[in-house]
């Protein structure tokens, strides 16, 4: 069971890898051919740049990847130059040789200029001197959007908490936004924490709630048109996955570790089982990381692909582009609605699986015999409570 899952994940990861590799190479070939000048045509400006080729790769990855600015649209002015409507963001760089340097991303003039010995290539800041070691701590659009989303989350939650402290919702009926938040909190408590963690649920409630709302608000913010794709970024999901990994393994009890290093199987099978068990510690967190990342990224890519189709058809003939636009927009709207659902579902799945993993780690030994009768010896890590969700 677990091996099948791992294999599935590996296949998904490799196909994604090959896809990105091919994209990068084709984009680079394309790039070399155009003498490094800013040739990127964004979909919003495609009408004005009719003679230029529409590059779907750049558009799609430009939208789902991180960037140093919020980019809304580009157009070619009467003077023949590219113009961009963007919100520049602060760049913070730490070089081991030159120390800290900060400036606004607008100083790069969309990659046309070098600043303080740094250049902007494909939304990546690189030192002009390639031997230099640089840490990029910039407030990129993902970071800024995440901060805005979290500030809103904290503001909303503190507002709700204040109401409760005042007795609203305790001695009197809850009011307004409390009514929206309260069912979610009680859902996490009654449907996620209690069934998986039993009587120990209270200890992990703050963590589960924070994970849930942290993912949810960033998912929702990612759905705003023009916003960054925060939860579909591997860095974001890695942080959450690693934190979950730490929480799960630090709350693991003797029973949990006993299962891993001394599985109750006949002696020679132990040699096979122990590595599998140790691997399973990591695959759990890895599955969480890839699942959230891939789901959110896929949704964003599908929507932008559907919209890009209009311009791909448009570059063949204007009539085809116009004719295809209702179909494209219809599908995009459909996927958009699904994405709203997915925003909630993925937040729930991440939280629920986190609760399941913590539940396995803190489970007491009294189910011991039952466990093995139920799940057999080979794949007991896949408890019946752990759904296989991709």
């Amino acid at each position: 069971m677990i091996s099948r899952r791992v294999k599935g994940l590996l296949v998904a990861a490799f196909s994604l890898l090959t896809l990105t590799f091919s994209n990068v190479t084709s984009a680079q070939e394309h790039h070399d051919g155009e003498t490094g000048h800013e040739e990127q045509v964004h979909l919003e400006g495609a009408e004005e740049a009719g003679e230029q080729k529409f590059d779907a790769n750049k558009v799609i990855f430009g939208h789902v990847m991180d960037a140093h600015e919020f980019h809304f649209l580009s157009w070619k002015g009467a003077d023949g130059h590219e113009h961009h409507a963007t919100i520049p963001l602060p760049v913070i760089l730490y070089s081991t040789t030159r120390g800290l340097s900060t400036f606004m991303s607008s100083a790069f003039e969309h990659g046309h200029k070098e600043v303080n010995g740094y250049k902007l290539v494909d939304n990546h800041i690189l030192p002009v001197d390639p031997s230099e070691k640089v840490y990029d701590l910039s407030l990129t659009r993902n970071v800024v959007q995440m901060f805005i989303a979290l500030a809103l989350l904290v503001f909303l939650m503190l507002g709700v908490a204040k109401r409760y402290k005042e007795g609203q919702g305790v001695t009197r009926a809850p009011k307004g936004f409390q009514n929206a938040i309260e069912p979610v909190i009680t859902f996490v408590r009654d449907e996620v924490a209690k069934p998986n963690l039993g009587h120990k649920y209270a200890r992990f409630m703050p963590f589960l709630l924070t994970v849930f709302f942290f993912i949810l608000i960033n998912n929702i913010f990612g759905l705003i048109p023009g916003a960054a794709n925060v939860t579909g970024n591997i860095a974001f999901t890695i942080v959450l996955g690693v934190i979950t990994f730490i929480v799960v393994n630090f709350s693991g009890n003797k029973h949990y570790w006993g299962h891993i290093f001394n599985p109750p199987v006949p002696g020679f099978v132990k040699f096979i089982m122990v590595p599998v068990e140790i691997l399973s510690i990591f695959t759990k967190a890895f599955a969480l990381i890839i699942r959230l990342f891939a789901n959110m990224l896929a949704g964003h890519i599908i929507i932008i692909c559907l919209i890009s189709l209009i311009f791909i058809f448009g570059s063949i003939s204007t009539v085809a582009g116009v004719g295809f636009s209702p179909i494209s927009v219809g599908f995009a709207a459909f996927i958009y609605v699904i994405e709203v659902l997915v925003a909630f579902i993925q937040a729930f799945i991440f939280t629920n699986l986190t609760a399941v993993f913590i539940g396995q780690a803190v489970e007491e030994g009294h189910h011991h015999e039952d466990d093995h009768l139920q799940h057999g010896h080979v794949d007991h890590t896949t408890a019946p409570t752990e759904p296989v969700i991709i």
Partner: protein, 164 residues
């Protein structure tokens, strides 16, 4: 490939943001909210429990009241019965007593009548005797008004006495 290579900056900022949000929300949001929810749920459960208890108490009270009412009714009936009995008894007694008294009064009256009658008869006898004596006296006075008459009467009396 860029998609799968996490950038160091975003990793760091996300970690920092998560930790800050976690500790802020844990202390200032989740604790009070969860405590409030628990308190409210406990309050509701307690209220329901006490409502149930009160209901049971009410039912008990009601049955007790009904008991009491029934007993009171019984008592009333008993009291009424007793009162009636008492009344009957008193009336009977009174009648009895009245009868005795009446009899006694009648007897007394009869006795008194008898006594009066006797007195009256005695009186009448006395009066009659007196009258007879008076009349006799008058008659005698008239007959014996003259000495000759007196002589003749004495003669007559003497003649009547026979000296044997």
């Amino acid at each position: 490939m860029q998609l799968l290579t996490p950038s160091f900056g975003l990793l760091l900022w996300t970690l920092l943001a998560f930790l800050i949000v976690f500790f802020v929300l844990k202390k200032f949001a989740w604790k009070p909210i969860l405590a409030s929810l628990n308190e409210r749920e406990k309050g509701i459960a307690d209220s329901l429990e006490s409502a149930k208890r009160v209901k049971a108490e009410m039912a008990q009270l009601k049955s007790e009241n009904e008991d009491l009412m029934a007993r009171a009714r019984e008592e009333r009936t008993a009291m009424l019965k007793e009162a009636k009995d008492t009344k009957d008894r008193i009336v009977a007694e009174a009648k009895e007593q009245a009868k005795i008294e009446a009899n006694r009064i009648i007897a007394d009256a009869q006795q008194a009548i008898q006594a009066q009658k006797m007195a009256a008869i005695t009186e009448v006898k006395n009066q009659v005797g007196k009258l007879v004596i008076e009349v006799s006296e008058k008659v005698l006075r008239k007959e014996l008004a003259t000495p000759a008459a007196q002589e003749a009467h004495i003669q007559g009396l003497v003649n009547e006495v026979k000296l044997n």
